[in-house]
Symmetry: C2
Subunit: 316 residues, 2 copies
Amino acid sequence: MRALAVYDGQVRLLSDAPEPTCAPGEVVIQPLLAGICNTDLELVRGYYNYEGILGHEFVGRVIDGPSDWVGKRVVGEINVVCGQCDLCQEGNYTHCRARTVLGIQNRAGVFAERFTLPIRNLHPVPDALSDEQVVFVEPLAAACQVLEAAHVRPRDRVVVLGAGKLGLLVAQVLRLTGADLTVVVRHERQAQLLAQWGIRAASLADLPEQQAHVVVDCTGRQEGFADALRLLRPRGTLVLKSTYHGLPQADLTRVAVNEITVIGSRCGPFDTALRLLAGGLVEVTSLIEGRYPLAAGKEALAAAAQPGRLKILLTF
Amino acid sequence: MRALAVYDGQVRLLSDAPEPTCAPGEVVIQPLLAGICNTDLELVRGYYNYEGILGHEFVGRVIDGPSDWVGKRVVGEINVVCGQCDLCQEGNYTHCRARTVLGIQNRAGVFAERFTLPIRNLHPVPDALSDEQVVFVEPLAAACQVLEAAHVRPRDRVVVLGAGKLGLLVAQVLRLTGADLTVVVRHERQAQLLAQWGIRAASLADLPEQQAHVVVDCTGRQEGFADALRLLRPRGTLVLKSTYHGLPQADLTRVAVNEITVIGSRCGPFDTALRLLAGGLVEVTSLIEGRYPLAAGKEALAAAAQPGRLKILLTF
């Protein structure tokens, strides 16, 4: 089958990737749409030493497995977990010590004609939601995780740093809290989308120092951490959605003296994301800025890597 | 009057420091004992651009002010606050935007024959507690702040990194939680004290990676942050008691991916610290490793700066 993979630091379009085989409890899925995420771009750059088929954001159809699943349109959680380790036993499944992660860690991804996932990772998709909507469930769930980690109150002043693919979803989720929300933008297209959603956009220079109760860093750049510390009031909360290349310098003394709380945040609740989409509480399709067939996967990755570019989808 | 101060990066023993004058609501205090803290040593090294009389840990006697206060033996909170700013109004007094801090920020300290504090900063000391005990109230309150910031449960595995003056107090406070507590030590004297208190000591190399629920960094060294991240399990909590010279490199990607919570922690509740001392729940006097008269203040600071040295007191 065809697949888009990374090997030896090179993206390769494979024409003869091996067919996936199901472990017990798994199904074979044919993707309908897949999204390109910044993590995919980082994997291509070799940040995490991953080799194999890329991709983890998808909506697909089950084509092989138990008969009550075959034919279903699904999205799927990306962490494949053991259920046995201490972290699983305590309900911290996304941190399973023995996990594989779809297209990220020891598990072939979704930029392929077929792939597998355990049934317990799947969420059937309501008919009322389009493929173009639900392909955003994984990143939208990650955006929802911000509110799992931090208690954001209606009276809080909240700043989102970085209005990229993830930042724009985080902003929409944070808008639901009723907090006084500002998103720092660097591109006109981001400002337009935020205006359309009724969310305030600003440039970093316009924001006062030490006033924000909560700052969410979605920049992916190490300046994001320093900027966030400047904006946060004492006892404020910094939610880190970013990963950073290398080891950024961080003003940890300021964290201690100002009693800042820094909370890392990664994968989130799929059911919540599906509910927000079904209720029309979050708008995602206007983030789509390009569609490429799998055969043009290299061009799709190159397009997704352009500064300011929002969501690029792969079609199958 | 005599005082120990820092000017132009030099410690000076002054013989003609100006007498302090009381603002409304303040009293004049004569110190009975004062403690040397790592912050004092950092001020001497010029980390915070402070110039003036040093010192903030004290027990003293009120010698001038309202008659119902004169003669009382007191300890005192070090943040002198406005009561008016947004942070004060919300009860975050220690973060007052207009604060001065005793011997640290725009306010003459206690390494002097006399100094002033507002009455509202004072806590009278019960007769049953000795000067040698209550001179530890300020750092013990800071140790208590760890538990204000982080919820430590009896089932948690907790590691304290850095068994210095502050770390040994933090360890004793954490012992009260019933958690499975280990303190990382580098000096024999620290191990002896911990054994005496029934607290487990270990070397860093003996501890397993990614197992601790809570790590408190009291090292004051930037390796402390990296070591803490190595020890913490996913979704663990890192409490930063340390301040660090410069901008340490920090693996913020690990914070994000492992969903670590980092909480800065500074000044704490004096009333709680007094209660712990009064109840015999924390033992402090065995931390005392030297006493110097104010006139030998330079020698006292030099002694306190020796690696592994615990509490050095000034007498008056």
